[in-house]
């Protein structure tokens, strides 16, 4: 048991020594006016109207696709696989975006803390933003 602890501690020390990079996070503000469910790999995350939630930015395992559902509709977005032109921000700050009433998703500045008027953020929209729905299926 002590050996196991020792191994675990050694691994943690090594991880600290070697430094970790972490997966990009997406903080999504819901300005759609309705509650939204974000479908992640193994769970569903509810974002109430006017609220936000943070989750892993979709990657190749998710085929760069973000799935959300609003009411009876399921909507898919294809997210950019490169964000090299998106302004840099502190490493620990997630990428921030906002779902609008027309279901487009706008990039927000790193300093955004609440729902933001996206009308003034046109110049920030690069790399395919604002995202438009790739598909929409309503039951």
């Amino acid at each position: 048991m002590n050996q196991l602890k020792c191994v675990r501690l050694s691994l943690l020390v090594l991880a600290a020594l070697a430094a970790c990079s972490s997966r990009l996070q997406l903080l999504l503000f819901n300005n759609s006016g309705d509650p939204v469910n974000v479908q992640l790999e193994r769970k569903t995350m509810l974002i109430a109207a006017g609220q936000s939630a943070q989750f892993d930015y979709p990657g190749p395992n998710e085929r760069w696709t973000l799935h959300i559902s609003i009411g009876r509709c399921e909507i898919e977005y294809v997210v950019p696989s490169s964000l090299e032109h998106v302004p840099t921000r502190p490493y620990d700050v997630p990428l921030k975006a906002q779902l609008e009433r027309d279901l487009s998703i706008f990039l927000l500045p790193a300093e955004a803390k609440t729902i933001t008027d996206v009308g003034s953020l046109r110049s920030l929209q690069v790399e395919g933003f604002p995202l438009e729905a790739k598909s929409r299926t309503c039951r």
Binding site: L11, A19, S21, S22, R23, G59, N61, S82, V126
Partner: protein
């Protein structure tokens, strides 16, 4: 301008009308397209040649020299190491990276341009796999070999670390405690362990990169770079610093934590270059 658009209905790529692909190249790549469909007179002994050969731009980035040809950028860094960087990630990891084929062309235009104009949105590649490996041509020079030998102590530690995680990860996968099976691949100037239960993100020890916790070579990291590309820069750092790499990380991380309040603060010198766009080993 060369651009690709993706038809999500047919799930296929189509060239824009104004496509002026070099040599009149086409998306409709055939068996012999890599030699302009003339296999009797042209050869490609390395398998890395392509129809795109014309250098269209030269630029500097810190201590690196970048040659732009077609939509691709080749970065020549110090110590004789070179790294092929396409505008879009090469998810194939099969040596086809840097060829400007497939989805790469969409943002290759942006990558190969010095303008500040908004880039073309880049749809995901049809050929994407989770590997996200770049096609580094490092390993071809004697200095690179010396660097890898100098980095060998770190690499051994990395292999031990990665192997333990690989074994434990498989046990966890078999018992249902882990969703993804661990894997081992070669790419990004390293041996890559994926879905390692002892890593939350990505880390590099020597010429070994270890990913876990949802991270992977083809996944975007917090710096907006592919994690595999970011970690590859750390392998180059290790090839320069050798046994000093881990102490350098510790000191840099401590400096960042104390002065910047975070391990990834700007004061963490080993992280500055890898977080740049495009990522590079050092900030100068």
């Amino acid at each position: 301008m060369s651009a690709l658009a993706r038809d999500h209905v047919t799930d296929a790529f189509a060239h824009a009308a104004n496509d002026d692909y070099i040599n009149g190249g086409s998306c409709n790549r055939t068996k012999y397209s890599y030699v302009d469909n003339n296999p009797l007179t042209l050869t490609d002994p390395t398998g890395f040649d392509d129809v795109i050969t014309e250098v269209t731009g030269i630029r500097t980035a810190g201590a690196s020299l970048q040659l732009v040809f077609g939509g691709n950028t080749t970065t020549y860094t110090s110590f004789g190491m070179t790294t092929d960087v396409t505008g879009n990630p090469n998810f194939g990891g099969d040596g086809s990276g840097g060829s400007g084929s497939g989805a790469s062309a969409a943002s290759n235009t942006g990558a190969g341009s010095n303008s500040d104009s908004a880039p073309t949105p880049n749809p995901p590649s049809q050929n994407e796999t989770p590997q996200g490996n770049q096609n580094p041509s490092s390993g071809s020079g004697p200095l690179d070999l010396l660097g890898k030998i100098w980095n060998l102590p770190n690499t051994v530690i990395g292999l031990v670390y990665g192997s333990i995680g690989y074994a434990v990860g498989w046990a966890m996968y078999e018992t249902g405690l882990q969703a993804q099976a661990p894997g081992i691949t070669i790419g990004n100037n390293a041996i890559q362990f994926t879905d390692n239960p002892f890593v939350a993100g990505g880390l590099t020890i020597g010429n070994v990169e270890i990913f876990g916790g949802g991270g992977g070579p083809g996944v975007l990291g917090g710096d907006n770079n592919l994690m595999g590309l970011h970690e590859m820069q750390h392998t180059f750092q290790g090839q320069l610093l050798g046994p000093l790499y881990l102490p350098s990380n510790l000191l840099g991380g401590a400096a960042g934590s104390v002065m910047g309040g975070s391990w990834h603060a700007p004061q963490t010198w080993n992280e500055v270059g890898p977080k740049m766009h495009p990522p590079q080993p050092w900030w100068w």
